[in-house]
């Protein structure tokens, strides 16, 4: 595996491999010196065309815990609007000698385009409405921690599916692991041709929550009401928000996930995030470990067998 662009380019075995080695990297974070030399001498460029504090920090910490050097490149999207060639930007960065590019862009497909022009590994940190594969990996890992084997479990995902790269990646990853996914949204916020997705679609959140093993809330952006996709956020919250009443009706063992940042009072009632079953912090913590695993698989010695040694070597320096 050279790049990580989308979940649907992975096999179920690839996906399970990442999840299987992730605990070793999570363990590194528990150490007093939370750093291993696995990627020493390698440089990872973080090419973020769109603001993203948590994903960028997560990748940066992951790379640093593996001893890679990181290069932060914040590119204002406006320079693209001014006609700057994507290729020029990418080639300029590569000329500085990097081994991997972690890219976030508001336009779907940019990571694919970069692979045509770059020799470096490309990791998709979110492209447009399209894919956010490391988010899906960390979500699967978090759900496995909560539910065990995901085969046959019922995951209810609620919100603006149409414009969500998280939904596209998560649906692919969860169904690959055998989970059943129900997407709940008003019809205007479901993607076209939803029948071609391996999911159930519903417009009734209360009915869907009754047999949910986990609930995944997506961020609802206020701009959607200006596009006549929803009348207003109040009506959205009433029908599709995780209100205090809906949260109270859930079994306490049903985990609640959110990719962040949360809009308290919109998709999730103001006090709900403080419930014990909300695992948003676990998601963030696991995000670092999963991204370490991905960086290691793409940039490490190339064989997973080498991994325990790397970790063991690091253990010796503890």
């Amino acid at each position: 595996m050279k790049h990580l662009l989308s979940i649907d380019e992975l096999t179920a075995d690839d996906l399970r491999d990442v999840l299987r080695i992730t605990p070793s990297f999570a363990e590194v974070a528990q150490r007093r010196i939370s750093k291993v030399p696995a990627l020493r001498g390698q440089t990872v460029a973080l090419l973020f065309y769109e603001d993203s504090t948590r994903t960028r920090l997560s990748f940066e910490i992951a790379a640093k815990r593996l001893s890679a050097d990181t290069l932060n490149v914040s590119v204002k999207t406006s320079s693209v609007n001014k006609g700057e060639s994507l290729r020029d930007t990418a080639e300029t960065i590569e000329a500085m000698g990097i081994d991997a590019v972690v890219v976030r862009h508001r336009s779907s497909g940019v990571p694919w385009q970069l692979t045509k022009w770059l020799d470096a590994s490309v990791i998709n940190a979110g492209d447009g409405w399209h894919q956010h594969p490391t988010q899906a990996l960390l979500d699967c890992f978090t759900l496995q921690q909560q539910l065990g084997d995901l085969s046959g479990s019922h995951i209810v995902m609620v919100g603006d599916i149409k414009h969500s790269r998280v939904a596209r990646s998560d649906v692919q990853a969860l169904t690959m692991l055998g989970a059943e996914v129900t997407l709940v949204a008003p019809p205007t916020l479901l993607p076209p041709a939803i029948a071609s997705w391996p999911v159930r679609a519903s417009h009734d959140l209360d009915a869907s929550l009754r047999d949910a093993d986990a609930v995944y809330l997506l961020r609802m952006q206020s701009e959607r009401q200006h596009e006549a996709l929803v009348p207003d956020l109040r009506e959205y919250t009433t029908r599709y928000g995780l209100t205090a009443a809906r949260a109270a009706a859930l079994e306490p063992k049903v985990p609640i996930l959110h990719p962040g940042p949360m809009n308290r009072g919109v998709e999730i009632a103001a006090d709900v995030p403080d419930l014990d079953q909300v695992v948003v912090v676990d998601q963030v913590r696991n995000g670092v470990a999963v991204r370490m695993a991905v960086l290691f698989l793409l940039l490490g010695s190339g064989s997973e067998q080498a991994m325990p040694d790397e970790v063991a070597t690091a253990g010796a320096t503890r």
Binding site: S107, S108, G109, V110, W112, R168, P191, A193, S196
Partner: protein, 423 residues
């Protein structure tokens, strides 16, 4: 002017198909025994000899976008693709909205190896508000008017255009796209846009406009030509309108015969076109429409772009593909019978452009010697590096196609010989 003898080819025109020799002298077709013994002989064995291809839809770059294409490079591309006449679209800079600009474009077009007919704008600067002087444009010989882009959006303006243009015998040509329904669209709406996370234009954005304009054509009795239709639904609506006697014709771009939205899986911006690549069932319907004659014309929709306009994120890349050098081969590769291909790429577009009806403009003595000689079996692979167009954006880059133009003769002059532009 030198004489030619085209020997041993299969002549295919609206009067029939048969192996016979064709003579050319002084720019017109003559009987083979009327050419002098000194005539240059072109061996056309195993080839099809046709009236020159006519492209009703080419963006020639010049004036205004010489970085992407000029009359010289675009004209070379045209004749290499077998076209002896192209209709140059008016979305140049300045736009072709006065007689003066028409004459200017004609002067520039002298650098082209093919005949260049000039289309005019419907509204001033194609801004969609004030009518361009259609009478003045008609007086200098403009036959087609179009605003390109998404076409006329305002239905009242569209009605006025159709009414006003009627006495001039000018054809109003309209791309069909309801902009408000396709706002922000980067590709066809469907399973693939859903998967690729790109905003899609539903087929209905085109079909609603086709229905509207057919209604207005019926109301006004004017002649209407739809540019680059792309959906099976549009073809069916046009077919029903034609049966009910509305004077409407339709063209399809060659890329819509072969490529579908699934071909965007790798976000190849050279395949970002307008209207977008549709469902694979639409490509099948397009090929069937060409074969049945329901679709009048196959056009290149040649839209050259410079590299930097395509090496952008998909939603910032300019749309369009070059097509002059591949349009014929794409149609033949799709296994459409060559008679039907020639009807759609030579006979009907020539008739719509006023160059003569299919039974007048034939390979017969007295006709202007615009001739295309095609080897329908020769295969070639597409590379914009070796193409004559200055545009670097081919939706078919790397594809292997069947059907190569061997010779193109424009007004009796051999401009392409053995697949190369003559020195």
């Amino acid at each position: 002017m030198s004489a030619l003898l085209i020997r041993g080819g299969t002549v295919v025109d609206a009067n029939g198909t048969g192996v016979r020799d064709v003579g050319v002298a002084d720019g017109v077709i003559v009987a083979p025994d009327a050419v002098p013994g000194s005539a240059t002989v072109i061996d056309a064995a195993d080839c099809v000899v046709s009236t020159g291809l006519v492209d009703l839809h080419a963006h020639m770059g010049e004036p205004g976008d010489e970085a992407a294409e000029t009359m010289l490079t675009g004209g070379r591309a045209a004749v290499l693709g077998g076209f002896t006449t192209v209709l140059a679209m008016p979305d140049t800079w300045p736009r072709v909205d006065t007689a003066a600009v028409v004459e200017h474009v004609r002067m520039l077009a002298k650098a082209a190896l093919c005949h260049v007919e000039v289309a005019g704008c419907i509204t001033v600067d194609s801004a969609g508000t004030h009518l361009a002087p259609l009478g003045e444009l008609a007086d200098v010989g403009v036959q087609f008017v179009t605003d390109c882009g998404a076409g006329i959006q305002n239905p009242l303006l569209m009605r006025r255009v159709l009414e006003y243009a009627k006495p001039f015998g000018i054809t109003v040509a309209q791309p069909a796209n309801c902009l408000e329904l396709s706002v922000g669209a980067q590709m066809n709406e469907g399973e693939w846009s859903s998967r690729l996370g790109l905003a899609g234009a539903p087929a209905e954005a085109e079909e609603i406009m086709v229905m509207r304009d057919i209604s207005l054509a019926r109301l006004t009795g004017a002649r209407l030509h739809f540019q680059t239709l792309s959906t099976a639904g549009s073809f069916a609506i046009v077919s029903a309108a034609q049966r009910s006697g509305v004077r409407v014709s339709a063209e399809v771009a060659s890329h819509h015969l072969a490529l579908s939205d699934a071909d965007l899986a790798a976000y190849d911006t050279c395949r970002k076109v307008e209207p977008p690549l549709r469902d694979s069932s639409d490509t099948v319907a397009a090929c069937e429409g060409v074969a049945s004659g329901l679709i009048d014309c196959v056009v290149s929709d040649h839209t050259p772009q410079t590299t930097d306009r395509k090496e952008r994120p998909f939603d910032h890349a300019e749309p369009g593909s070059v097509g002059l050098e591949t349009a014929l081969a794409v149609a033949l590769t799709r296994e459409i019978d060559i008679t039907h291909v020639l009807r759609a790429m030579s006979w009907r577009p020539a008739e719509l452009l006023g160059l003569g009806s299919p039974t007048q403009r034939t390979i017969s003595p007295g006709a202007q010697a615009d001739i295309t000689i095609i080897d329908p079996h020769e295969r070639f692979s597409v590379s914009t590096r070796t193409q004559a167009t200055a545009g670097t954006n081919s939706a078919f880059e790397g594809a292997e196609l069947r059907g190569r133009v061997r010779s193109t003769i424009v007004a009796g002059r051999v401009v392409v010989q053995d697949g190369q532009v003559t020195p």
